[in-house]
C-alpha cells in the first residue's frame, strides 16, 4: 500500500506513483507533514496553484483494526498560513485504504474556473464534470452523489462555503450511513478544495477488500487484547454513553468552558447543555445516544440528535460545538445548538471557527450574547455569502479585525476550541505551540489529573500529549483510542507490526510522532513562523478569566521549551 495518486486540475492528468521510499512507513498526518515539506513551497499562496490538497488514510487504514479508519486531509492552510492536517471520521479513510491508496494528491488549479467531481474506484479515477453540483449544500450534494453512484460509495465534499473559499470551510465526509457530517473541519481545507474546483470525491471500494494482516494468527491475538483494553477503559465507557459531551461538566467544573467569547469559563446554563441533558433529550425523543462514525468502532462517541417529533436534526452533536455555539454564545438550548450545528454542516463550515467568529461578532455588538435567532441568521448569512457572512466565514481573526474587537480567541489565525486556556492551561500551551494553530486534538490535557488553573507542569503535560497523539494520527486511529491504549504502547506496536509485517518498537512509533511534529514545525518555520507565533493573544495574559480569576501565566520560556527535543 504505497500508491500515491496525483491529479493535476489544470491538465486533468493523473499519475499513479509508487511513493518515494521515504514515505513507505508514513501515513495520515505523518505523510502530510513530510510530503508538504518536500513538495510545497511553504510561502505559497494557499489558494494558489502551488498548494496541494492531500487525502491520506493512516498506516492502518483499510485494515481490520478497530477505529483505524480516520482520514487525514492536509494542505497549507489559508486560515493559519501554516501546515494543516485535519482529521475526520466516517468511511472515506477506510475505503481509500481498501483501494490501496497511501495518498491522493490534488495539484494546481482548474482552467477557466471549471468545476469537477472526482470518482475513485477499483477501476481507476475519473475526473467528471461537476458544474451541476456546484452551489448545492452538503447534505444534498452527498444525497445526489449517492443516488447517482450508489448507496455504498463514500463522499467527501464541500458546501457553498468551500466554493466561496471561506477560511472556515471544512470538508465533509460521509459516515457508515452516508450522512456527510464527519468533518475535516479545521483550517479552511474546504477553501483549498474549492480553489481547485472540486466539489466532491466519490469513493467506491466495490471489489476491494480489507487489508489482510501480515501475520494473521498474532494479529488476531493482539486484536483480542486491544478489544479488552478498549472495553475496560472507563474513558471509552464514558464516550460510549455520553459521547464527547461528557466534557461539559469536566470543563465547567474547572472554569474551562468557554463562555461569552472566552471571557469566562463557567456557564450558568451549563446543566442545560451538558451530557446528561443531552442523553435524556436524545433518549426521550427516541434518538440514538451512541452511534459509530465508522464501522468497527467500539468507542461510538457519536449520537443522533432528534427534534421533538423524533426527526433527526443533526448527527453527531459534539462537545466542541456545544461549547463554541452554546456557552461561548451564551446559548443554553440544545435544540438551538443542534440546529446551528446542522446549518454549519450543511453550508460546509467548521462549527468551532464559526462559533468563535459569532462570539466575536456578539462582543462587537452585531447581535447580543444569547441571541439564538440572531446566531441562526448569521449562519445563514455565511451560507448566502452576504458581506457579514463573508466576514464571519473568514473566521474569528478576520471578524475581530473588521469589527474592531481585539479580544479574539485565536492562535496562528485559528480559533480556539472548547477549552478556555486560563481555566485549562495545558490546552493553552497546546494552542500556543501546536504547529496547527489553536487545536485541542494536537494535545488534549483536560482529562489529566492536575490542577488545570495552575501553570505548574502544564508545558510538560502538553508536550507529552503533542508528541503522543501524532502516533494515532499517523496510523489512522481515532485519538480517543489513546485514552485506553496510552498505557499499553507495546500493544500498539504489535497491532502495527502484525498488520503491516513491520518490526517497530513502541519507541519507533514515538520517534515517528516526533518527526511528524518537527516536520510540521519546519514547514511553518520556512513559511515565516517564529516563537513569536507560539503565544496566546495578549488579553489572555492580562485579563482574568471571570470565573477562575486566573490569567494565562505559562512563561514564554516554558512555551519555547515545548518543541526542544533531546
Amino acid at each position: 500500500m504505497n500508491k500515491i495518486l496525483r491529479i493535476n486540475m489544470a491538465s486533468l492528468e493523473q499519475k499513479l506513483e509508487d511513493g518515494n521510499k521515504d514515505y513507505e512507513l508514513l501515513g495520515g498526518r505523518a505523510f502530510i507533514a513530510k510530503f508538504l515539506l518536500d513538495e510545497v513551497k511553504p510561502s505559497c499562496e494557499p489558494l494558489g496553484r502551488h498548494n496541494k490538497l492531500i487525502y491520506t488514510p493512516g498506516l492502518l487504514g483499510g485494515s481490520k483494526v478497530f477505529s483505524s479508519g480516520r482520514i487525514s486531509i492536509g494542505a497549507k492552510s489559508p486560515l493559519t498560513g501554516g501546515i494543516k492536517e485535519s482529521n475526520g471520521g466516517g468511511v472515506v479513510g477506510i475505503k481509500l485504504g481498501r483501494l490501496g491508496y497511501k495518498a491522493i494528491v490534488i495539484e494546481d488549479l482548474p482552467q477557466n474556473d471549471q468545476k469537477y467531481i472526482i470518482k475513485i474506484s477499483a477501476e481507476g479515477v475519473e475526473i467528471l464534470p461537476g458544474e451541476e453540483y456546484w452551489g448545492l449544500k452538503v447534505y444534498e450534494t452527498a444525497a445526489k452523489l449517492r443516488e447517482r453512484f450508489g448507496n455504498k460509495v463514500a463522499v467527501s465534499c464541500i458546501g457553498p462555503a468551500g466554493e466561496m473559499k471561506f477560511f472556515s470551510a471544512g470538508i465533509a465526509n460521509t459516515d457508515a450511513e452516508g450522512v456527510p457530517s464527519r468533518y475535516s473541519g479545521r483550517g479552511g481545507l474546504g477553501a483549498v478544495m474549492g480553489s481547485k474546483g472540486i466539489k466532491a470525491l466519490v469513493i467506491d471500494d466495490s471489489g476491494a477488500k480489507m487489508h489482510e494482516p501480515a501475520n494473521s494468527a498474532e494479529f488476531n491475538e493482539v486484536m483480542k487484547e486491544y478489544a479488552k483494553i478498549l472495553k475496560e477503559s472507563p474513558v471509552v465507557e464514558a464516550y460510549n454513553t455520553y459521547g464527547t459531551s461528557a466534557m461539559v461538566q469536566v470543563t465547567n467544573a474547572v472554569g474551562g468552558l468557554p463562555t461569552r467569547n472566552f471571557s469566562a469559563g463557567k456557564f450558568e446554563g451549563a446543566e442545560k447543555i451538558d451530557a446528561e441533558r443531552l442523553y435524556d433529550t436524545i433518549t426521550s425523543r427516541n434518538g440514538n445516544p451512541t452511534h459509530a462514525c465508522m464501522p468497527g468502532c467500539m468507542i461510538r462517541c457519536s449520537n443522533v440528535y432528534p427534534d421533538e417529533q423524533g426527526n433527526t436534526v443533526v448527527s453527531p452533536l459534539e462537545y466542541e460545538t456545544i461549547a463554541l455555539m452554546g456557552s461561548n454564545l451564551s446559548i443554553d438550548n440544545l435544540d438551538v445548538i443542534a440546529k446551528l450545528n446542522y446549518l454549519c454542516n450543511d453550508y460546509g463550515i467548521d462549527t468551532i471557527e464559526t462559533g468563535a467568529a459569532i462570539g466575536v461578532a456578539m462582543e462587537g455588538g452585531v447581535i447580543p450574547f444569547g441571541d439564538a435567532q440572531g446566531a441562526i441568521e448569521l449562519v445563514h448569512e455565511i451560507g448566502k455569502g452576504s458581506l457579514i457572512g463573508r466576514v464571519l466565514g473568514m473566521g474569528a481573526a478576520i471578524t475581530g479585525k473588521v469589527l474592531g474587537v481585539t479580544n479574539v480567541p485565536v492562535v496562528k489565525g485559528q480559533s480556539m476550541p472548547g477549552y478556555e486556556p486560563r481555566g485549562i492551561k495545558g490546552l493553552g500551551v497546546t494552542y500556543a505551540t501546536s504547529p496547527m494553530g489553536a487545536d485541542h486534538t494536537a494535545g488534549a490535557t483536560a482529562r489529566a489529573k492536575v490542577d488545570h488553573n495552575s501553570r505548574e507542569g502544564q508545558a510538560a503535560l502538553s508536550k507529552k500529549m503533542q508528541y503522543t497523539i501524532p502516533i494515532y494520527d499517523d496510523l489512522g486511529l481515532c485519538m480517543f483510542v489513546s485514552a485506553a491504549l496510552g498505557a499499553y504502547p507495546e500493544v500498539l506496536a504489535k497491532l502495527v507490526n502484525t498488520q503491516l509485517g513491520t518490526n517497530y518498537s513502541s519507541d519507533d512509533l514515538f520517534k515517528l510522532a516526533q518527526d511528524t511534529v518537527q516536520w510540521e514545525r519546519e514547514f511553518n518555520r520556512r513559511a515565516g513562523f517564529t516563537n513569536a507565533d507560539d503565544r496566546l493573544p495578549e488579553h489572555f495574559y492580562e485579563e482574568q478569566n471571570l470565573s477562575t480569576g486566573t490569567v494565562f501565566d505559562v512563561s514564554d520560556e516554558e512555551l519555547d521549551e515545548v518543541h526542544k527535543l533531546g
Copy 2:
C-alpha cells in the same frame, strides 16, 4: 533639546524627562526606532495598553534649516504588526522643535474610554476633555481647535476613521495656513491615537523661538551653499513647478503606473491625470500650482487644487493619490481624484491604503473599475463605518481576504504606493524588504537612470536608497532634499554640525541611518518577522504586468542580501 515628555492616558500623569544619553543624537525616525526597540514589547497588541505613540521632530526640527520641519510619528503598527514611522509635513514638527521637545510619548489607554485633546505650549501640557470633538471630521476638528486656541496653533488630529481604529487611519497635521492635510498617513497610526482616546494635539509655540545655530557664522555660510544647491537642482525645479505629479509621466512611460489593481503599469488615461494636465487645470482655475507645506521650504511641491468655480477642493493633490485613486481605479478625472482625496483627508484615512483597498474591491466586483461615483460612495461608507466601510477601512489586505481576492498589492499587510513593482523593480525590492512594509519613501528608485523593467542592480539600488533616506528622516528634512543634497554629503554634515555644535562626519550620518534601519529590523524580528515576510505577493512573481510583460524576478537571495551589512 533632549526633553522627552511622557503622557500616560490611564493616570493622566505627565512626566518630563531628560532623555537617556543614548537618545541624545537621535531624532525623528531614528528616535522612534531606538525608543520602540527599548521600551515597547514587539509582540504587543498595537491597539492595547503596551503600545506607545511617539511624536518626534527631527534633529534639526525647529531650526532655520530649510525644509527641516518634518514630524515623525511612530508606534507599533496595527496594519503591519511591525514598527512604523510615518513622516508628515506641515508645522507640527517645527513647533514641537521650537518648544524644545525631542519627543512626546503617549502611553497606555484611557480609563472608561474617555476622550481627550492635548494642549502643548511653552507653559506646559494640559490634558483636556475631548468629548465635544469626538465624531468630527478632520477639517472641522482643526477649524474648531484653531477657533478656540488661536490661528497660530498647529493641530495634529484624527478623523472618524482613527476614532473607529481603522488600520488605514492616519494622523492629519496642519500646514502653515492651518489646513490639516499634511498626513502621517501610513500604517494606521490614527488607530493607535484613537485607541488612546486622543482626538488631537494642539501645539502653541507662542514665545518659543527658532533654535539658534551653535555656530552662527559658519551656519550662515553653509546655509547659502545649501540654498544654492537646492536652487540649482533640476529635480527641485520640477517639484517646484509640477509637484510630485511629475511622476505620472515617469512611471507611465516605463509601465510602472499602477493601473486597475496593479494589473498593469500603463494607463490609457494617463495624460488626463498627469502633471501638465494638473498644472493647466490648477492655473486655469486660479489655483496655486506651487505651495509650501511648511514655512521656509524651497521645494514647494504642494499645490492647491480648485474646482471650476475656483473654490479649493483639496491641497495638495499628490502623485501617490493620483496613482492609487486614479489609474489604479481606472479613473481618469482629476476632479474626481481631488474629491476622493478631500474625502479621505476629511475622514482621516490614508489615500494610498484606501485607493488600494478600493482597487481590490473593484477586482472583487463590489463596483466596476472606473466607477467614479461608486468610489466616492465607498469612501463615504468608510467614513460612516458601515460594514463595507469597516472592511475597506481596515486596508487592502483585509479587504482582499473578506472579498476572496488573492491579487492584493500589499507587503507586510501594507498596500503598495504608486509604483508597480514589476515595472519599477527597485521599488519592488524596497516594498519587499523595508521594515515599514510597502513604502516608497523608504527607498525610492523611480528617478534613477536604470532600466526599471530589468532586475539587474535593483537590489543594490534599493539598498543604497534604504540606507540613505533615514538620514533625512532622522534630521527632519524633507526626503526631496536628498535629490539635491545627495551628492553633497559634506554639506549635510556641516548643516548638522553648525546647527547642533556636533562634530559628525557624513559617514557618521550614514552610520546613524544604518542603525535606524537595523533597529527597525530588530524590532520586527522580535515581533515575529522573518525573511519570508520580505517578499512580494505570489502573483507579482507569476503573472505579468500587462503593460510590460515582466514579472518580479529579483531573487530571494538578492532580497535577503539587502539588509546584510559589512
